[in-house]
C-alpha cells in the first residue's frame, strides 16, 4: 500500500494529532494555534479533493481501519456522495478557520484561544469522521465527538445567552444522541451487523419486524433533531445566534449538513428506497413536513429583528429544501438536494460571515441599528447581496440551480402542488433577504463616527473567505454542469444504482 491508499485514515488521524499539537504548541506560544489549525484543515481539504478525484476515477474507496475487514473492523467508505459532502464541508471548514482568527480574538478572548482551536479541530474531526465512516455505530461515536465540541464552542462566546443556548442544545442533542443509539441498537438486534453495507444486505429479510420500524423512526427522528428539521429545530436559532461568528459559520454550514448527510445515508443506503416506498411509506410525510419547514422557517425569519437570528431561521427553511429532495426521492430531485447541500453551505456561510463582520465592526446585529451600513462596508454588503440573490434563487447562482432541479424533480414525480408551493415559497426568501438590503443600502443611518469617508471594512483575513464564498455562489451556478458530474452519480448511487 502506498501512502495515497492511506489518505482516508489520515483525514481523521491527522486532525486528532493536530488538536493535541495545538494544545502543546499553544502552551509554548499562543500564536501557533492558528497556523497549525489552518494548515491541518487545508491539508485535509487537499486530501479530500484527491480522494474525490480517485472515487470519480475508480469507484468507491474502501479502507479497513487497522487492516481488519468488517464485520470485525471498522470500515471507511467513500463514494461519490460522501466524497462530495466531504469536499464541501472541508471547503467550508477552511473558509471558517481562515475567518476565525480575528473573530476569536474579538469574541472569545485571548486566554481561551488554545481551547477554542482544539475544540474547533475536534469538531471538524468528528464531522469528517461522520462523513466517511461506513459503520453505523462509528457514525454515532463521531456524532458525539462533534456534538460535545460544539456544545463547548457555542458557550465560548461567554455571554449568559450563549450559555443558555449551549445548554439547550446540550439537552436536545443528548436526546437526539439517545434516539440514535437506540435506533442503532435496534438495527444491530435485527441484523447482527454494524457495517452499513452489511446491514443493507441483511435488512430486507427483516423489513417487516417491529424492531426495524422502531429503529428506523429512532434514527430518523434523532438525526432530524441534529439536522434541525422542522419542527425539531428549536435548539437552532439560539445556537446560531449566540455563538461566536466563526462557530456559527462552522455549525450552520458544516454541522447541519453532515446531519442531513447522515439522514440521506441511513434512509437511502441502509434502508434503501424499497423500504421507504413500499414497506414503510414515509416519503409523502417527509415531503409534507419539508414543505411546511420551507414556508414556516421563512415566515419566522421575516419576523426577526436581529440579523443573525434571521439567518438562523432561514436555515430552518433551507433545510426544508434539502429534505424536500428526500421526500420526492427521484434522481433529479436528489440531484437538486445534494446540490443544495453544497449551495446552501456556501451561501449561508457567506451570509453569516457578513453578519459576523458587522458584529465585529459595529458591535450589534440588530437590523434597526444597521441603516446605511453599505456605505461604510461596501464589500461586505455586496457579498451579502450576491449570496442573498443565491438564497432567493436568482439565476445564474447556485441557489437557482438547486431550486430548478428540485422543481423539475417534483414535477417529474407528479407532485404538481408541492412544486408550485416550492416555487412561490422561494419568494419568501425575498422577504428577509431584501429587508437587510433595503436597510443596508437605502436607509440613512446615524452618523457613524468621524467623517463620512471612514470605512469600517474588516481585515483581509475575514474579507477574503467571505468574498470567495460570495463569488462561489455565482461561479458554482454558472459552471453547475461540472458539479453535476459528481452529483448525478451520487444521486443514482443513493437510489440503488451503480
Amino acid at each position: 500500500m502506498t501512502l495515497i491508499d492511506h489518505l482516508p485514515v489520515f483525514l481523521i488521524a491527522i486532525p486528532i494529532l493536530a488538536s493535541l499539537l495545538i494544545l502543546v504548541a499553544g502552551w509554548w506560544d499562543r500564536r501557533l494555534c492558528y497556523p497549525i489549525s489552518l494548515v491541518t484543515i487545508l491539508s485535509q481539504f487537499g486530501a479530500a479533493v484527491i480522494i474525490l478525484a480517485q472515487v470519480m476515477r475508480e469507484g468507491t474507496v474502501r479502507y479497513y481501519l487497522g487492516g481488519w475487514a468488517p464485520p470485525l473492523g471498522i470500515e471507511l467508505a467513500i463514494d461519490s456522495f460522501n466524497g462530495f459532502i466531504l469536499t464541501t464541508i472541508l471547503l467550508l471548514s477552511a473558509a471558517a478557520v481562515i475567518y476565525a482568527r480575528r473573530s476569536v480574538e474579538h469574541e472569545v478572548g485571548p486566554e481561551k484561544t488554545i481551547a477554542f482551536y482544539v475544540l474547533f479541530q475536534l469538531l471538524v474531526t468528528g464531522l469528517v469522521g461522520m462523513t466517511i465512516t461506513g459503520d453505523i455505530f462509528n457514525l454515532y461515536v463521531f456524532l458525539e465527538i462533534s456534538s460535545i465540541a460544539a456544545y463547548a464552542l457555542i458557550a465560548s462566546a461567554r455571554k449568559p445567552r450563549s450559555y443558555l443556548a449551549s445548554f439547550n442544545y446540550l439537552i436536545l442533542g443528548s436526546i437526539a444522541g439517545g434516539f440514535i443509539l437506540i435506533g442503532t441498537g435496534n438495527l444491530y438486534a435485527a441484523t447482527g451487523a454494524l457495517n452499513m453495507l452489511d446491514i443493507s444486505r441483511l435488512l430486507p429479510a427483516s423489513f417487516e419486524l417491529a424492531t426495524v420500524h422502531a429503529g428506523f423512526l429512532f434514527l430518523v427522528i434523532g438525526y432530524s433533531i441534529k439536522a434541525a428539521f422542522f419542527p425539531l429545530h428549536i435548539w437552532l436559532p439560539d445556537a446560531y445566534a449566540e455563538s461566536p461568528s466563526a462557530v456559527t459559520i462552522l455549525i450552520s454550514t458544516v454541522m447541519s449538513k453532515v446531519s442531513v448527510y447522515a439522514l440521506f445515508r441511513i434512509i437511502f443506503t441502509i434502508f434503501t428506497t424499497a423500504y421507504i416506498v413500499d414497506v414503510f411509506p414515509v416519503t409523502g410525510f417527509i415531503l409534507f413536513i419539508a414543505t411546511v419547514a420551507m414556508i414556516a422557517g421563512a415566515v419566522i425569519a421575516i419576523a426577526q429583528s436581529d440579523l443573525k437570528r434571521m439567518l438562523a431561521y432561514s436555515s430552518v427553511s433551507q433545510i426544508g429544501y434539502i429534505m424536500f429532495a428526500l421526500g420526492v426521492a427521484n434522481q433529479v430531485a436528489l440531484e437538486g438536494g445534494i446540490l443544495h447541500i453544497l449551495g446552501h453551505a456556501v451561501m449561508k456561510g457567506c451570509l453569516f460571515m457578513v453578519a459576523g463582520l458587522i458584529i465585529y465592526r459595529v458591535g450589534t446585529s440588530r437590523l434597526s441599528d444597521l441603516g446605511g451600513i453599505a456605505k461604510v462596508m461596501p464589500i461586505s454588503c455586496a457579498a451579502f447581496a450576491l449570496a442573498g440573490a443565491s438564497m432567493i434563487g436568482i439565476p445564474p447562482t447556485i441557489g437557482f440551480m438547486s431550486k430548478y432541479y428540485l422543481v423539475l424533480g417534483a414535477l417529474e414525480a407528479g407532485h404538481w402542488l408541492y412544486a408550485a408551493i416550492l416555487l412561490l415559497g422561494s419568494l419568501l426568501a425575498v422577504g428577509y433577504i431584501w429587508r437587510f438590503i433595503e436597510i443596508a443600502y437605502f436607509r440613512d443611518g446615524r452618523d457613524r463616527g468621524s467623517g463620512a469617508a471612514r470605512t469600517l471594512e474588516a481585515p483581509a483575513s475575514m474579507l477574503a473567505p467571505m468574498v470567495a464564498l460570495a463569488l462561489l455562489c455565482l461561479f458554482l451556478g454558472i459552471f453547475v454542469e461540472g458539479l453535476m458530474e459528481i452529483v448525478g452519480p451520487a444521486a443514482s448511487l443513493l437510489l440503488g444504482g451503480a
Binding site: I394, L408, V430, E481
Partner: protein
C-alpha cells in the same frame, strides 16, 4: 449557417465589462461617464456589425456552456432578436447622453451606482434579445429585474422604497411563473430551444397548453398588461432617465418581446389559434388598451400619464399577436421599436421640463413652450406619432394592425383601434395645448426657464428624427428584419 461568431457574446460582455470599470473609476465623474459612452458606442457597433448577416437571412448561434436539463446557456441572434437589440442599443446610447445631462443638472446622488446598474441592465436586455432558449431568456430576465431595482428606488425616500417593493413583488412573482412555465415546457417536450413556428404542438392536452400559456403571460408581467400593470406607474418614482429605460429601452420591451417570442417560437400561430388563445389575448389586450387610456386621461402628473399611455400602447403589441395573422404579427413586431423611439422622446421631454422648471404636473406647465420651444415641439411631434399621424412612424404599425384585424377575421378589433386613437388624441392634445398655447398664470414665473442642456436636447431631437426616418424609410432595417422573422415563423421563403 453558424460559423464561430463571438459577436453576440461581445455585445453582452461590453456593457458588463463597462459596469465593472464604472465601479472602479466611480470617483472620477468624467472618466466614469466616458466609460458609459464608450461602451454604448461599442455595443451599438457590435450589434450593427451583425446586422448585414442577419439581413441576409442567416442566424448566429453560439452555445456557451451546458447548464441544466432544459437548456444550455446559449445565444442565437435572429431577425426578431435583432429588432429588440438594435432598439435597445441605439436608445442606450441616446439615453446615456441624456442621463448624463439629467443627473448632473439635478445633482443626483449615488451616480456611480446608477451607471453601474444601467450598464448591467442593458447587458441583460440584449441577453434577452439574443437568447437561444427559454432558460437563457429566463436567466437574463431575472437579472434585469434585480438590477433595475436600485434604479427604481434611486431617490431612497420611503415612498420610493414602497414603490420598489411593489416593483420587486410583481416582477419576482412573475419570474416564478415564468420559471414554472419553463419547467413545464421542458417536462412536456424535453426542450426549451426556440423553434420558428413553435414546438409545443401535440405535446399536451388542450387544457395543459392553455394553462401553460397563462403561466407565460403572468411570467411576462413586464409587458404590463392589465390588471397586472400596477408596478409600472409605481415605478414612475424613479429618475426620468430610468423611466425612459423602463418604458422604451429594456424592461417593458423585454416583456412584450417575450410574449411575441412565445407566440411565434414556442406555440406557433396555428397552435395558438386551435387553442383559442388568440381570443383570450385579444380580450386582455383590448381591455388594457381602453382602460389604460381612460386612466391616462385623468392623470395630471405628466410622467404618470405617460406611464398609462405605455400600458395602453404595449397592449397594441399583444393585440397584434392575438390576431394570429401575418399582418397582425408584423404590426406587433413593428410596434416594439416604433413605440420605443416615440415613447422615449416623451419621457425625455418630461425629464427636461423637470430639470428646467421642476414641474411635474401638466396643469403647471402652461406656456412653457414659449421658453422651451424646441422641447415642446418635440413633445408634440412624438405625441402625434403615438396617435398614429404622419409623418411619424406610429402610423406604420397601426396600419399593419388594422389590416391584421380584418385579415385575422376579428373586425371588432378595428373598433378598439379607432377608440384608442381617439383616446390617445384626447390625452395627448391637451398637454400639447397647455404647453404651447396657453398663457402662464404668472408671466414672471417662467422668466428663468430655458431649454435644457444640449446633452439632453440633442437626444430628444435625435429620437424624433429617427421616428421620422422610420416613417420615410421603414424597410431599413426594422421592416426588413421583421419580414425575415415573419417568414421564419410562417415557414415561407425568406424574401
Amino acid at each position: 449557417m453558424s460559423d464561430i461568431n463571438l459577436l453576440p457574446v461581445v455585445a453582452i460582455a461590453v456593457p458588463l465589462l463597462a459596469s465593472v470599470l464604472i465601479l472602479l473609476v466611480g470617483r472620477y465623474e468624467n472618466i466614469r461617464e466616458g466609460v458609459t459612452i464608450t461602451a454604448a458606442v461599442a455595443m451599438l457597433g457590435t450589434v450593427l456589425a451583425m446586422l448585414p448577416s442577419i439581413l441576409s437571412g442567416s442566424r448566429i448561434t453560439i452555445s456557451l456552456l451546458p447548464m441544466v436539463p432544459g437548456g444550455d446557456f446559449a445565444l442565437r441572434v435572429d431577425a426578431f432578436g435583432m429588432v429588440f437589440a438594435l432598439t435597445a442599443a441605439t436608445l442606450w446610447l441616446l439615453n446615456s447622453f441624456y442621463a448624463i445631462g439629467y443627473m448632473r443638472a439635478r445633482r443626483e446622488h449615488a451616480q456611480t451606482r446608477f451607471y453601474f446598474c444601467f450598464a448591467v441592465a442593458i447587458a441583460a436586455a440584449v441577453g434577452i434579445a439574443f437568447s437561444e432558449n427559454l432558460l437563457t431568456l429566463f436567466i437574463f430576465y431575472e437579472i434585469l429585474t434585480i438590477i433595475t431595482y436600485p434604479l427604481v428606488v434611486h431617490i431612497e425616500t420611503p415612498e420610493a422604497m414602497r414603490a420598489g417593493r411593489k416593483y420587486l413583488a410583481y416582477l419576482l412573482v412573475g419570474g416564478v411563473f415564468l420559471l414554472a412555465a419553463l419547467v413545464l415546457t421542458y417536462i412536456l417536450t424535453g426542450t426549451t430551444t426556440f423553434v420558428p413556428g413553435g414546438f409545443l404542438a401535440g405535446s399536451g392536452s388542450t387544457i395543459v397548453l392553455q394553462v401553460l400559456f397563462l403561466l407565460f403571460m403572468v411570467g411576462f408581467v413586464k409587458a404590463a398588461w392589465m390588471p397586472l400593470h400596477g408596478w409600472l406607474p409605481a415605478a414612475m418614482i424613479a429618475p426620468t432617465p430610468v423611466s425612459a429605460f423602463l418604458h422604451a429601452v429594456a424592461v417593458v420591451t423585454a416583456g412584450v418581446f417575450g410574449i411575441v417570442r412565445i407566440a411565434g417560437w414556442v406555440y406557433g400561430m396555428d397552435l395558438m389559434a386551435s387553442l383559442g388563445l388568440g381570443t383570450l389575448l385579444a380580450l386582455i389586450a383590448s381591455f388594457t388598451i381602453i382602460t389604460a387610456s381612460l386612466f391616462a386621461l385623468t392623470e395630471d402628473n405628466l410622467k404618470l400619464r405617460l406611464a398609462y399611455s405605455t400600458v395602453s400602447q404595449l397592449s397594441y403589441i399583444l393585440l397584434g399577436v392575438s390576431m394570429l395573422s401575418i399582418a397582425g404579427m408584423t404590426g406587433a413586431m413593428a410596434h416594439i421599436p416604433i413605440h420605443a423611439f416615440l415613447k422615449i422622446t416623451l419621457f425625455f421631454v418630461a425629464g427636461a421640463v423637470i430639470v428646467s422648471t421642476g414641474k411635474e404636473y401638466i396643469s403647471e406647465m402652461k406656456g412653457i413652450g414659449r421658453n422651451m420651444p424646441v422641447t415642446a415641439l418635440m413633445f408634440a411631434a412624438a405625441a402625434i406619432g403615438i396617435c398614429g399621424l404622419p409623418p411619424l412612424s406610429g402610423i406604420i404599425s397601426k396600419i399593419y394592425l388594422a389590416v391584421g384585424a380584418v385579415e385575422g377575421g376579428m373586425p371588432v378589433l378595428l373598433l378598439v383601434l379607432i377608440a384608442s386613437a381617439v383616446l390617445n388624441a384626447a390625452y395627448f392634445f391637451p398637454v400639447i395645448y397647455t404647453m404651447m398655447l396657453e398663457r402662464p398664470d404668472d408671466e414672471f414665473s417662467l422668466a428663468a426657464v430655458s431649454e435644457p442642456p444640449l446633452t439632453m436636447l440633442i437626444p430628444i431631437i435625435l429620437t424624433v428624427a429617427i421616428s421620422i426616418l422610420i416613417f420615410f424609410y421603414p424597410a431599413m432595417p426594422f421592416m426588413d428584419l421583421i419580414d425575415i422573422a415573419i417568414a421564419e415563423i410562417t415557414g415561407s421563403v425568406i424574401p
